[in-house]
């Protein structure tokens, strides 16, 4: 990492360290922990969508597989959480490999629908395979994660842990992007024909990055299970997969920071809306949590229509605009003085 990216990374680390000192409310800390899980999955998805140019509306399924593997192995078979997480990763690697080879031959809408179909199937299995997953009532008594024998019992500890994982994943993502492999992926996005004419094995690269992004999702799922201590199929429906894609797109597909910002923005949006509703009530407007979906869709649509490159790019071009007009202004002022 270098230049702007390392500055951004430093800013991220500082915010991670300082936030628990500012946010003392357990509820909000919990929201931020969930945000970390979304960020983790979105960073993986961004590598797949933004850099390699392959859409997946099925990554919620990999989160579910990670969560359920962790949940089942720890709660029912008393495995160590770490071993269970590793096992989840291995299972996801195998599944992503088997799904990726045929699916990534598809393009655009077809790939989107295939992955969406996969996500639905996983959700249906989570509900229907009662013996394995506990069905709609889910799995309880999942233990907390321990770190070298030290159990992460408080939210503050879990916050630090999960955001450290996010930071690590960002570090990995940037390493990858600025490497031979990352260039290969971006080349595939730019032109598959040209990439293969330069000796890049497109199929293999697409499948590899698909697997990598699925692993990110799986770890995110495991961490979720260990934090919640219980899981049910509810959060793992198709909408969750759609949500992940929209987080990445809203933030800005072509940039890891964009994915991060998108994930944070949409994860915190419901909180912001409920915060807003108090003020709306003062104005005589009755805002209910039921409207969330509607507002959410509206924001997504507006961003896609007016900021197709996402918030991150939108913000940076606004900053650039301000900077250049400021320069012009100060230049003119300086001219006048002379």
């Amino acid at each position: 990492m270098k230049g702007k990216n390392s500055a951004g990374f430093l800013a991220l680390i500082i915010s991670i360290i300082s936030i628990p000192f500012m946010v003392t409310n357990d509820y909000y800390l919990g929201v931020l922990i969930f945000t970390a899980f979304n960020c983790l999955a979105c960073i993986g998805l961004c590598l797949l969508m933004g850099y390699a140019g392959q859409i997946s509306i099925g990554h919620g399924a990999f989160i579910a597989i990670g969560a359920y593997t962790s949940g089942i192995l720890t709660a029912k078979f008393a495995w160590s959480p770490w071993l269970a997480m590793l096992c989840g990763v291995l299972i996801v690697i195998v599944i992503a490999f088997c799904l990726g080879i045929p699916a990534l031959r598809l393009k655009g809408h077809y790939l989107a629908m295939a992955t969406l179909g996969f996500a639905s199937i996983v959700h249906i299995v989570a509900v229907a395979a009662v013996d394995l997953t506990g069905g709609p009532s889910g799995i309880v008594n999942i233990p907390r994660l321990d770190l070298f024998g030290y159990v992460l019992s408080s939210d503050k500890q879990y916050f630090y842990f999960s955001w450290s994982v996010v930071a690590l994943s960002i570090y990995i993502a940037f390493n990858l992007i600025n490497s031979r492999v990352g260039r290969g992926l971006q080349a595939i996005h730019g032109s598959e024909d040209a990439a293969s004419s330069l000796g890049i094995n497109i199929t293999s690269y697409k499948v590899q990055v698909f697997i990598l992004s699925a692993v990110f999702a799986s770890i995110s799922g495991s961490l979720y299970a260990y934090y919640m201590n219980y899981i049910d199929p509810g959060p793992f429906d198709v909408m969750h997969s759609v949500l992940l894609v929209t987080m990445v797109a809203v933030g800005g597909l072509h940039n890891i920071w964009g994915a991060l910002i998108g994930a944070i923005f949409l994860s915190l949006l419901p909180e912001f809306l409920s915060f807003l509703s108090d003020y709306l009530q003062v104005l005589g407007i009755e805002y209910q949590p039921d409207y969330d979906t509607l507002v959410y869709g509206g924001i997504l649509l507006i961003i896609m229509l007016f900021l197709p490159e996402g918030i991150f790019n939108g913000l940076s071009s606004i900053i650039q605009f301000i900077r250049s007009s400021f320069r012009k202004f100060s230049g003119r002022a300086a001219g006048r003085v002379e």
């Binding site: 031979r180 260039r183 032109s191 890049i200």
Partner: protein
């Protein structure tokens, strides 16, 4: 002509019922510039796609350096030493000019997905080497000033140069150029001609498809004329210009 690098042996390609290439036999001599010319839809680009593995021949063989090339994917063909450019420039628009050429060094480097993600300090040496080679290539093509610019923002002439630089980074034995001068102005076309001759001096065999006859006749050592997927004439440029069949194919009657 025993010293051929590429041989097409009774090559045929059908699309559905349409015959794009029929019973075409051709030898490309090592170290020279050979041009394929012919009217639109004659099958020239199809031949390129057959040679570089983007299409499978319906029948016939392609022999590269004496070895039959069969059922090979484009990336494998690249690895045995065939580079190419495309009719509609296919650069990677969002990557910088330097990064575009660094992609060309793909086959000359090793790092995989795992090592790239977690072990960058150990890969610095390889990365440095890739960068140095790419910069050398940029310098060779006089594109150094654009190194950090996104490739998509270059003017077309430079994009075509960049595409060639990227293919050269592969260190190919045979380079296929698909209409490198199309859309270029007179001055750029001359520069392109000079570049192609320089490439020949680097001991790289060039196979060229081009519609600018002035360029073709100027730089080619050998010209093959194709119409309706068939070879109708081959020989040195001077002979081709006088050939009755060729004049008929181009001017009619």
């Amino acid at each position: 002509m025993s010293n051929s690098i590429l041989e097409l042996e009774v090559l045929c390609k059908n699309f559905g019922g349409v015959v794009a290439v029929s019973n075409l036999s051709l030898r490309i001599e090592k170290g020279f510039i050979t041009s394929l010319i012919g009217p639109n839809g004659a099958g020239k680009t199809t031949i390129f796609n057959l040679v570089t593995g983007f299409l499978e021949p319906t029948s016939g063989h392609i022999r590269f350096s004496g070895r039959i090339v069969k059922h090979m994917k484009p990336h494998t063909i690249a690895s045995i030493g065939i580079g190419r450019t495309f009719q509609n420039v296919q650069i990677f628009p969002k990557m910088s000019v330097l990064e575009n050429i660094m992609v060309g060094r793909h086959l000359r480097s090793r790092a995989g997905i795992l090592s790239s993600s977690v072990l960058p300090p150990f890969l610095r040496k390889e990365e440095k080497l890739i960068r140095a080679e790419a910069e050398k290539q940029l310098h060779f093509l006089d594109l150094s000033e654009f190194a950090r610019v996104p490739a998509g923002s270059l003017p077309l002439g430079n994009q075509r140069m960049l595409e060639i630089a990227r293919a050269l980074a592969l260190e190919p034995k045979l380079l296929l150029l698909d209409e490198p001068a199309s859309g270029l102005n007179a001055r750029e076309t001359i520069a392109m001609g000079e570049l192609i001759e320089k490439i020949k001096q680097m001991n790289i065999t060039v196979l060229l498809v081009e519609h600018d006859m002035e360029l073709v006749m100027d730089i080619s050592d050998y010209v093959a004329v194709i119409n309706f997927g068939k070879l109708i004439a081959e020989g040195p440029p001077v002979e081709i210009q006088e050939n009755k069949d060729v004049i008929a194919a181009y001017l009619g009657e």
